[in-house]
Amino acid sequence: MTPGNQTMTTETILKIEHLSMRFGGLMAINDLSFDVKRGDITALIGPNGAGKTTVFNCITGFYKPTMGMITMTQKGGKQYLLERLTDFEITKQAKVARTFQNIRLFSGLTVLENLLVAQHNKLMKASGYTVLGLLGIGGYKAEAEAAIEKARVWLEKADLIDRADDPAGDLPYGAQRRLEIARAMCTDPEVLCLDEPAAGLNPRESLALNTLLKSIRDENGTSLLLIEHDMSVVMEISDHVVVLEYGQKISDGTPDHVKNDPRVIAAYLGVEDDEVEEVIHEELDGSMR
């Protein structure tokens, strides 16, 4: 398959249709529609204040969108309308996990405990909603060991195994970012939404992040949706890029397509409005000829 190709045959996992979000008089997102394909890394980019994080908050249920429909299709074909679910149900049932722009770890818990908390729902069921587990009946013990094993796998992937028993708040910034991704992955998501995963990372850490994200896509089959300002990350790993400006979609396609889109260049570099028109006309003329 050719990643990012508009006529791609892979199925859509997350379909966003006519999404609008209004805060009082401010239209933060205006009639936004785009698709996230299964097994893709989709990047959502745009200048500051374009509404990228608002889109994330709508998808993950932290905001209730004013209008629009967000459909999540799981592997089995089961569909969920995300705008009707509350935030924790979206992770629990629809299997859409997220990370935050300003890292939100449980800083007083150890790294391992952070990953165990992420497996809460599974462990809750195994412990008979605490009652059976408290009495020592049922398979809680085995399940708890499996949870630790799973945490160990993710700690190794995120290169945090040596810090497993340290408090999460004690980790350096880059490691905290990786831990937050590993923690979100422990909820077994089908779509993982990452809000600026590379922010504040040095080039080497950024490179390690690229490897981690690619391995999540290729080995776990998890689709990724990410907001990112670091173009080296966006262009290097994403299969599909959506560009937002003032709450509206201005471009959608492969990284190469987006890179050369005059409207994107205009949005980022700032061009006079009539100049943009000019550029677009030239483009159109060129393609007609």
Binding site: T60, F62, D87, F88, E89, I90, T91, K92, A97, R98, T99, F100, R104, L105, F106, S107, G108, L109, T110, L112, E113, L116, V117, A118, Q119, H120, N121, L123, M124, S127, T130, G133, L134, Y140, A144, I148, R152, L155, I161, A164, D165, D166, P167, A168, G169, D170, R183, A184, T187
Partner: protein, 465 residues
């Protein structure tokens, strides 16, 4: 003269000058502060007129104590400790850490063993009747607060929900036992779990409306809830007996085999041909509350290693992150409230059986404040720290009653109990200054891969709702 103790003799003159300056400053400050409070006394003379007289001597004592105290502190004590710390750092503290670790590691085991043998030892030392004071005032009283504080610890220490109305659940437990045993004649052992369940039920009822509140707002609403329960108990006279309360609450029995009622044929003392004394009942109650405390501790320790316990602590750390991981924070908060309330209910029904009398007076806000203070002083989330804090706070109060010799110092009108709150406040300020995270500030992780390392208190959060 300072060079014997100060670490570097050559800086001593500067140090002395500083000490004198600070001492004088403290004296001036004390003079300003106490001039009106201490220096001048108002009183009513024989014609009922308000007149005043001066007490310059007393004022001088206050000022001198402040000035000399500050001088000694700056000039001698601080440099002395600084020097000792320096010397200790040079010597290396590896060996001292190992020495205390045996006692530290087995602290809870030693404590439980000591508590198990506490009544027999006291009886052996002071006789059956003489043991009453030690078992009842020191033993049972402290253990009730230990249990209450451990119960509140689930809500405040683990889940990070500031509950100022915890005493309401204590009251629900106490009145459940008093009323149900009065009307239906059910025994203590049936009503103990029932009181716990009823209190948990009320915990959930309280939980529902306050769940959307956080931090200060939550504290205010729980405070109000505590007062509502107390006022209902006070004014619903037909059922609760109003301010007079319910007296003659049935005593607990040893599982119905032996009774502690004086007239009963299966009276414990009669069955074993012992002299009649209320001390046996108290010793029995001591073991009951000890068992209840151990149950509380066991359940809390087990729950912390269960997913629900981890979710509580995660909730304390970051609620939004919890929701992003698919944790239903509403249910998690409700279980914390319910479990905490349940332990309060157990303690309440025990309290009713012990006193034989319940009235709204026992469930005032001050009780909630004391329990919360114990949790905070002990270190939120740490069972050992909280138990130590309960011993100090409650045992200290009881000890004050015993201090007869203070009457000889301060005159016959001096009642040390009245200064309890003053000392309470002072103790809290001092502890919070030196140990801002409580006696045990670190937290034990619930799971580990290679080694169990305590998490420093500087990383854990207090929760904000």
């Amino acid at each position: 003269m300072a060079n014997t103790q100060s670490p570097a003799p050559d800086i001593a003159p500067g140090l002395m000058a500083k000490a004198i300056k600070e001492g004088l400053f403290a004296g001036v400050l004390a003079l300003g502060m106490f001039l009106l409070f201490v220096g001048i006394e108002t009183y009513q003379d024989i014609d009922n007129r308000l007149v005043w007289r001066t007490r310059w001597e007393l004022l001088a004592v206050f000022v001198l104590v402040a000035a000399i105290g500050r001088f000694l502190m700056v000039g001698f004590i601080t440099p002395h400790f600084a020097a000792r710390k320096l010397a200790k750092g040079k010597a290396g503290q590896a060996d001292s850490a190992e020495e205390e670790s045996f006692f530290k590691r087995n602290f809870s085991k030693i404590a439980i063993l000591a508590l198990l043998f506490y009544p027999p030892i006291v009886v052996y030392l002071y006789g059956v009747q003489g043991s009453l004071k030690f078992v009842d005032n020191f033993g049972i009283q402290i253990l009730i607060y230990v249990m209450l504080a451990w119960g509140l610890n689930v809500v405040v220490g683990l889940a990070g929900l500031l509950d100022l109305g915890y005493v309401a659940f204590y009251a629900v437990g106490a009145y459940s036992y008093a009323l149900l045993s009065d009307h239906f004649g059910l025994s203590f052992w049936v009503l103990l779990p029932m009181a716990g369940i009823l209190a948990a039920f009320w915990g959930i009822i309280l939980g529902f409306p306050v769940l959307r509140l956080r931090g200060d707002y939550l504290a205010i609403v729980t405070l109000a809830f505590g007062e509502i329960i107390r006022l209902v108990l006070m004014n619903w006279s037909e059922v609760t007996g109003g301010t007079a309360g319910i007296s003659g609450v049935a005593k607990a029995s040893i599982f119905g085999i032996y009774s502690f009622d004086v007239g009963a044929p299966n009276n414990f003392a009669r069955a074993f041909d012992l002299p009649m004394s209320s001390a046996y009942y108290k010793i029995f109650l001591f073991y009951v509350i000890l068992a209840l405390c151990l149950l509380t501790a066991y359940v809390t320790i087990r729950l912390r290693r269960m997913p629900i316990g981890r979710a509580w602590e995660a909730l304390r750390e970051d609620e939004i992150a919890c929701r992003s991981l698919g944790i239903d924070t509403v249910k998690t908060k409700l279980t914390a409230f319910a479990i905490g309330a349940m332990f309060g209910g157990f303690a309440g029904s025990f309290f009713a059986a012990r006193q034989g009398f319940v009235s709204p007076e026992s469930f005032v806000f001050l009780e909630s404040a004391v329990i919360l203070a114990i949790v905070v002083l002990g270190g939120m989330g740490s069972l050992t720290g909280i138990a130590v804090a309960a011993v100090l706070m409650v045992g200290g109060t009881e000890l004050l009653r015993e201090m007869e010799f203070l009457k000889h110092v301060f005159g016959p009108d001096f009642t040390p109990e009245l200064y309890r709150m003053l000392l309470f406040g002072l103790a809290m300020v001092v502890v919070m200054l030196f140990k801002p995270r409580g006696f045990v500030g670190s937290r034990e992780p619930t799971a580990f891969l290679k080694e169990r390392k305590a998490v420093s208190g500087s990383f854990t959060k207090e929760g904000h709702g």
